[in-house]
């Protein structure tokens, strides 16, 4: 026990010394460290495409908010049965309201082209290889069927969206999210899990 205590003391002192050394280096680093910012060089044509896309996303959000308001509200301390029931009801009501929705309603060709360019620019060279490995090999999303108005299967993995890419893509309201499935980009409702729209071959 004594020996253990000695080891711990030595470890604590050594750690403290190492950290103080590290901190002196860090102070210089942290002054320079900044959250990477998007460096958009967006053409007028692309600005128009982004505005159109954002407007269509807003319209979807307004629709689903109106529908969700009619459902019993989920509390912050819900039971699993309540969460499940809310999700199913929400899916059904949105699916009915968007019965005619089809692929490309939101990801129209202009915004799809812009997004492809953005992703290609974000991931160049070695980083692109890493992204391709991640989305095509590492992530198990093969069972996700690309169908508008159908849910992203809850049993399937969600590939984390590269944060540096998220900073460059058109910003979304909190009700929807981007998801990568293979080389394809999906727009998914955060709560009901429905695929709102998708675009093919987003990743080069």
């Amino acid at each position: 026990m004594r020996q253990q205590k000695d080891h711990k003391t030595i470890f604590a002192i050594a750690t403290a010394a190492l950290i103080s050394l590290a901190l002196s280096a860090v102070s210089a680093v942290s002054c320079e460290a900044q959250t990477p910012q998007a460096t958009p060089q967006v053409s007028a044509r692309h600005k128009q495409a982004i505005a159109t896309f954002e407007q269509r996303v807003k319209e979807y959000v307004a629709l689903r908010e109106g529908l969700e308001d009619k459902l019993p509200k989920l509390a912050e301390d819900s039971k699993p049965e309540q969460i499940e029931a809310h999700k199913v009801s929400f899916q059904n009501t949105v699916r009915t309201a968007r019965a005619g929705a089809k692929q490309g309603d939101l990801f129209v060709p202009e915004i799809a082209a812009y997004i492809r360019l953005t992703i290609a620019d974000e991931f160049k060279g070695r980083e692109r290889q890493e992204l391709r490995k991640k989305v095509l090999v590492e992530a198990d999303t093969k069972a996700v069927a690309l169908r508008v108005n159908y849910p992203y299967p809850e049993s399937e993995e969600l590939l984390d969206m590269p944060p540096t890419l998220l900073l460059r893509l058109p910003q979304l309201p909190k009700q929807v999210k981007y998801r990568l499935v293979g080389k394809n980009l999906l727009l998914v409702d955060r709560e009901n899990g429905l695929i709102v729209d998708y675009m093919l071959n987003a990743v080069p």
């Binding site: 750690t15 403290a16 950290i19 103080s20 860090v26 680093v29 460290a33 984390d160 969206m161 944060p163």
Partner: protein, 312 residues
């Protein structure tokens, strides 16, 4: 006196468990790939159990509903008798392969029933197998948010959603950190910024956006999962990083040999952590499914360490 009480508690656990004392304290900075061979090692806590300290456990990648997840949970219960932790941080992948009401029951509630009944609170973060709706689940204490902050004593905890680190979340994080006066700031989320895992490895894109904020606002320690093993990373730019992602799954042998990042690795059995923040010290102990202590030690608050360095 406290140490005496701790010894008595430990002795009582040993007595009732009918088990023999075993040497503890494996804090040497080396890689430990030795398997857990003991059927059930004795409960023996190396944390100081100081009065007023913040005591908690960490588990990750738990939601399988398997017998082995249950065995880890059972070991947590045994350790709680000797080290009464108040709450548990969950590193994500809380529910694998489905999120029906039954999944919540069989992969979480049934497994941790004893702890839940003992009023242990669980604070979850979302993994890549978790749906956003988990934020409404009462036992995950996420208050309907995908990312949130809470405090215990002198410690502020930040649960982040590393699946989707967008501009909004980064802004929220910066705003919260900027006004945070807590002595300790601990962040936890699913994807590890540093990792020696063969399958996944370091999430460098995530690191690129969160680490500058951690450095700027003095985050002390970071806990993650995703990799199904335990790893203590050598301090990176002064920050302590841990991976605890083997609470329900194991990726045997996945810690890369001779990784320059590893201070300690354990990838031969499932595991969980118990921790205690006492003043300027963060004490930790890592316990395998079978009760073997695979790592332990104490880390000093960086501000204190800096002061110690300056005074020499």
């Amino acid at each position: 006196m406290k140490r005496f009480v701790a010894s008595v508690v430990t002795a009582a656990v040993l007595l009732f468990g009918g088990l023999a004392q075993e040497t503890l304290g494996q804090s040497s900075p080396s890689r430990n790939l030795k398997g857990s061979t003991a059927v059930s090692a004795p409960v023996s806590v190396s944390l100081p159990m100081k009065e007023g300290s913040v005591r908690f456990a960490v588990i990750g990648d738990t939601g399988t509903g398997t017998k082995k997840q249950q065995e880890v949970a059972d070991m947590m219960v045994r350790y709680k008798s000797a080290f009464p932790f108040e709450f548990v941080l969950m590193m994500g992948d809380n529910l694998y392969n489905g999120e029906s009401a039954e999944d919540y029951k069989t992969k979480f509630e049934d497994v941790y029933r004893t702890l839940l009944d003992d009023n242990v609170k669980f604070y979850a973060t979302l993994g890549n197998h978790d749906e956003s709706n988990q934020r409404f689940y009462k036992y995950f204490n996420m208050n309907g948010e995908e990312y949130y902050r809470f405090t215990k004593g002198n410690v502020a905890f930040y649960s982040l959603n590393s699946n989707y680190m967008d501009k909004k979340q980064l802004k929220w994080l910066e705003n919260e950190l900027a006004k945070d006066t807590a002595q300790w700031k601990i962040a936890f989320f699913h994807h590890p910024p540093y990792s020696s895992g063969g399958k996944h490895g370091s999430d460098t894109a995530l690191r690129e956006v969160v680490e500058p904020l951690f450095l700027k606002y003095g985050v002390n320690a970071v806990f993650a999962g995703h990799e199904h093993f335990y790893e203590r990373i050598k301090p990176q730019k002064g920050i302590y990083y841990f991976i605890s992602g083997a609470g329900g799954k194991l990726r045997d042998g996945d810690v890369k040999e001779n990784s320059p990042l590893t201070a300690k690795g354990f990838d031969k059995d499932m595991s969980f952590m118990i921790l205690e923040v006492a003043g300027d010290e963060l004490h930790f102990q890592v316990i395998s499914r079978t009760g073997e202590t695979v790592d332990s030690g104490v880390l000093v608050n960086q501000r204190k360490a800096k002061a110690m360095g300056a005074s020499k």
